[in-house]
Symmetry: C2
DNA sequence: TCGCTGCCTGTTAGCGGTCACACTCGGATT
DNA sequence: AATCCGAGTGTGACCGCTAACAGGCAGCGA
């Protein structure tokens, strides 16, 4: 308890070298004699020496930590992204510090960013899927490496994003291909870029197929909202295909349809988005669109690291294409 | 870019005081004249000064960071816990650094713990729900504040845990109260303490009710496993009540029963565990047991902070009682 | 008048690393 | 033989902060 952990000088003394040589060994500096290196390593092992990252951070001005700003890390998407980010960062020797935020407004975001900056993080990843985050981000200090994920496509910031429109197009097209006249869309909250992108893709697919564009059914991300919308859709006999902005919405829709005696996929086909692990066990198994969170995490980190290493340069934008996962919730429309 | 951020001495110079006085103001030291305090605060604001946590960590030997060791932060339970932990920590001025680990074996755990120790974290929270983590934990350095969550109840370590047995008892009793002769149990993986606790509670409830104890149906946490077990249960005409170790398993069971034409709750009642947000929108809405992740997080942090502040003392164990959430998946058994 | 006590403030010495530089020394070059 | 070179190592000065101690200066009792 009372004994402080060993420092570099302790290792140096034991190995009979200077602290600087220990530092060189630790950092893989080339000009160290093999024999010396071994002596130092032995001393390190013997003392159980562990370099103090705080000291290192102090002198270099940057710690080997990446700060993340996220909103609701309980949702499947953000949670997966966070996990992937942590995994990827660890592989490059970085730790990840999360800062959750209740609302993505200017005050909350900059408070968390401030906290990260106080720790002298090497870079910051902001998962900023809504409108209100945008303005906050522009006022942030410009001299810290920063990448936004799922942020505003129209803002000139380094951005990694899932190609929402492409996913939505694929989902819609899949339904059209099955023979449906048109496809209804239950969308996510209007201030999310994800929602906007999916709406856009859905419209595009319908337009280019020359299909009629039904009115949008707005919702949030919850199963509850899906249920409410589903109750409405169930009453409309001409609805044969529904694309929901995520799987939870689809779950709510499925139950509403079930309660109204409308069979899926015989009477109505449903496609979701996200491919949550349980989607394959919905009733019926849900056809959905799977974003590649691992790829998003890798791209984000890559962009961040290039910013960290060189002052400028690197791509400003990376888009990750999602894939359609076909299951049993889609079938041709019923014959009249 | 080239200008380094302002340090304490810069603030001191601008305010016409010594850096030590700035430090006193920052740390709320009492003996500072009001007028001086204001001058310093003005200087801080003017320069946009931000204290360097790394420097502070270096001199105090501890950073205001709490390290978390977790396994699969994509699952609903761990994700919720992590989010709650982060929230609670932030309120006490601590940042949270996550270290995910693929397997909870000795090597993986101590690697992550080492990483945290290198950062001189103030304390560590280990979410260690499986057997294999136990031995790893005992070999860890004893001088760092550490709390385990959902860990081994039989090991003498500071532990916060959900009262799995109580939850399982409540679920089972609820089914018995509805009139069922006995209750079947689809359990989680056998090396998880959560599983063990739930099995125990289930057995207790049956025993004290004098009910027959059916064979255990072992599974993992996935909907897929639930589906497989459900297919089996669906073929057994005398099964009228099933308690699954989590909601995802229940989802799989529900689908299997549905496919076999067995109605829930008319033919078979089902109860889950976790109360995932979508549980209310399963077909039918799922009766389940809700653990209070917020309470777990608060208890963990409280225990950790007492360890951090005083060398010894504080409770070694805190148990959080879950609550039963009744929905529509439970009904009396069908008449013969 | 002289201490003695609190308040308020400044001075100095680290914390444990990295960086820039200086030094030694054997071998190759001139 | 004198010079240069580069590989290997050591020295000292910081990085930005806190802790410990050392004053200065008012008020107060002796």
């Amino acid at each position: 308890m009372a004994v402080r952990d060993p420092a570099m000088t302790d290792v140096a003394r034991l190995a009979g070298v200077s602290h600087q040589t220990v530092s060189r060994v630790l950092n893989g500096h080339p000009n160290v004699r093999e024999q010396t290196r071994l002596r130092v390593q032995a001393a390190i092992a013997e003392l159980g020496y562990r370099p103090n990252r705080a000291a290192r951070a102090l002198v270099t001005g940057r710690s080997q930590v990446i700060g993340v700003v996220a909103q609701n890390t309980t949702l499947y998407g953000p949670a997966s992204l966070l996990a992937a980010l942590e995994q990827t960062a660890a592989e490059s020797g970085f730790a990840v510090s999360v800062g959750s935020v209740r609302d993505l407004d200017h005050r909350s975001i900059s408070a968390v960013v401030e906290r990260h900056l106080a720790h002298r993080v090497a870079g910051i990843v902001v998962i900023a899927p809504v409108e209100s985050a945008g303005e906050a981000l522009e006022r942030l200090p410009k001299d810290v490496p920063l990448v936004t994920v799922d942020g505003d496509p129209h803002r000139p910031m380094p951005l990694v994003t899932v190609d929402q429109a492409a996913g939505a197009r694929a989902a819609t097209q899949h339904l059209l291909d099955a023979g449906h006249r048109t496809v209804w869309h239950v969308s996510g909250p209007s201030d999310w870029f994800d929602s906007a992108g999916r709406i856009e893709g859905w419209r595009e697919a319908l337009t280019s197929a020359g299909a009629e564009i039904p009115p949008l059914v707005p919702a949030d991300w919850s199963a509850a909202a899906g249920y409410r919308c589903g109750q409405m859709l169930a009453r409309m006999p001409d609805v044969t295909a529904v694309f929901t902005a995520n799987d939870h919405l689809a779950l709510g829709v499925l139950r509403a349809l079930h309660e109204h005696g409308r069979r899926v996929p015989d009477d109505i086909s449903v496609v979701g988005f996200d491919d949550v692990p349980e989607a394959a066990y919905f009733i019926p198994p849900l056809t959905t669109v799977r974003p590649d969170f691992g790829a998003v995490a890798r791209a984000s980190l890559e962009m961040l690291l290039t910013q960290i290493e060189s002052v400028s340069g690197g791509a400003l934008r990376r888009t990750i294409a999602p894939t359609l996962v076909a299951r049993r919730s889609v079938a041709p429309p019923p014959r009249r």
